[in-house]
């Protein structure tokens, strides 16, 4: 077995070269390069988990914003509905008062018109009496040949008119 047979001749060379090569591996590769490689991997892991956290936070913020939006939307909706209701009530009240005023105006106009109609019909009646008196005197004069007095004719007409 050369491992044992050659040990006296080769142990120093084996140990020397092993320490030299492993020393190179440890100091140059292990200490010099591996931390950088591992650092890159760690930085990447940190970045990934950081990005994931940021995404999660953004999701939470979005949910919050949506909830906020919903409550504000509901508030605005109820405020708008209250506004509409008030406006409706106001409008109804206003139209009521205007209607009342218009009713009063109309009643006044109707009253005035009725008074005018009454006056006009009185005047017309008076005119009809005069015309009827004239007509009655004419008829009396033509039929009886008697000149009826104005007063007699008037009384007769009045009586006739009163009887309808």
């Amino acid at each position: 077995m050369p491992q044992i047979a050659q040990i006296a001749d080769t142990y120093s060379s084996q140990i020397f070269w092993l320490l030299l090569t492993f020393g190179f591996v440890f100091f140059v590769i292990g200490l010099g390069m591996v931390p950088k490689v591992q650092g890159t991997a760690d930085a990447r892991d940190a970045k990934i988990s950081g990005d994931l956290d940021a995404a999660k936070a953004a999701f939470a913020r979005a949910d919050e914003a949506e909830a906020d939006y919903r409550t504000r939307d509901a508030q605005n909706r109820s405020a708008a509905q209250a506004l509409i209701a008030r406006a409706k009530a106001d409008a109804a009240k206003a139209s009521e008062t205007r209607l009342a005023a218009a009713d009063a105006d109309i009643a006044q106009v109707i009253g005035a018109a009725e008074a005018r109609i009454a006056a006009a019909s009185n005047a017309a009646m008076a005119q009809i009496e005069t015309v009827a008196v004239d007509a009655a005197r004419d008829m009396v004069a033509r039929i009886a040949g008697v000149e009826a007095s104005d007063e007699a004719a008037r009384n007769a007409v009045k009586a006739a008119l009163a009887h309808g």
């Binding site: 491992q3 060379s13 140990i15």
Partner: protein
């Protein structure tokens, strides 16, 4: 030595100096650049190339960067699940250990023999695995005594030990603790050696049976060859598992030092 015909299945573990550096030495110690050292350098170089490809540091990684980050992430998860958040500072060491052993195991399995080279698995030498095991064990000792001082010895007395049992249990636990570097180093060495020997023995069967007679070649040789294919796949698995076991046990031991219990 196990011999099968002219094929020596142990020859693959022989260490040979390369490039005429047989007598290179420091302070009287021979440091010849051997085929073993060549594969150590190769493993370090391949690992360096692999990790350099993952240094682009892009937010959206490419395939190569993804592969490198997967390996560092794998070691990070291993340490965090075994040691906790305090295990992060051991990522460079355990990553180096795991990848170095993994590449050593895998490079030793490359079928370079097909192009006339001799692949060598330096993790099949306990001189190499022993150094790695002693390093891991030293880190445990240093961290343990640094963080907990002499209180680190309480590791050898589990919670709820009856007073009568404290002393015997202390020595039992001490022995089991002191055995760790040996089990750590020998496990890797044995697993790699056994697998490679098995492959070479079967290869010897194929060659020798085919040389003996066509009938033997078609029966014994073919069966051995089919078995070799399966065992080669198994060896790739063993290469990964042994590297993982080494890294896992190191992190379990580091947990003892880091958190006591």
């Amino acid at each position: 030595m196990a011999e099968s015909g002219k094929i020596d299945p142990m020859h693959q573990f022989a260490i040979e100096p390369l490039f005429g550096t047989d007598h290179l030495s420091i302070g009287g110690f021979n440091i010849a650049f051997t085929n073993s050292a060549l594969y150590m350098v190769a493993a370090a170089l391949v690992l360096w190339i692999f990790v350099v490809g993952g240094m682009k540091r892009e937010l959206v990684p490419g395939r190569w960067q993804m592969a490198v980050e997967y390996m560092t992430g794998f070691i990070k998860n291993l340490l965090i699940s075994n040691v906790g958040e305090g295990g992060r500072k051991y990522i460079p060491y355990v990553f180096s250990l795991f990848m170095f052993i993994l590449l050593a195991n895998l490079l030793g399995l490359l079928p370079l023999g097909l192009i006339g080279m001799h692949p060598f698995t330096f993790t099949s030498h306990f001189t190499a695995t022993g150094v790695l095991a002693i390093m891991s064990f030293s880190i445990v000792l240093i961290v343990g005594f640094w963080k907990h001082g002499l209180h680190f010895f309480s590791l050898f007395v589990p919670h709820g030990t009856p007073a009568l049992m404290v002393v015997p249990l202390f020595f039992i636990e001490l022995v089991s603790f002191m055995v760790r570097p040996f089990s750590l180093g020998l496990r890797l060495f044995v697993a790699m050696t056994a697998g490679h020997v098995l492959l070479k023995v079967l290869a010897g069967f194929v060659i020798n049976s085919a040389n003996a007679s066509p009938a033997l070649g078609l029966t014994v040789g073919f069966a051995s060859f089919v078995l070799m294919i399966g065992i080669s796949a198994l060896e790739v698995l063993v290469a990964v598992i042994q590297a993982y076991v080494f890294a896992l046990l190191t992190s379990v031991y580091i947990n003892d030092a880091e958190n006591l219990h």
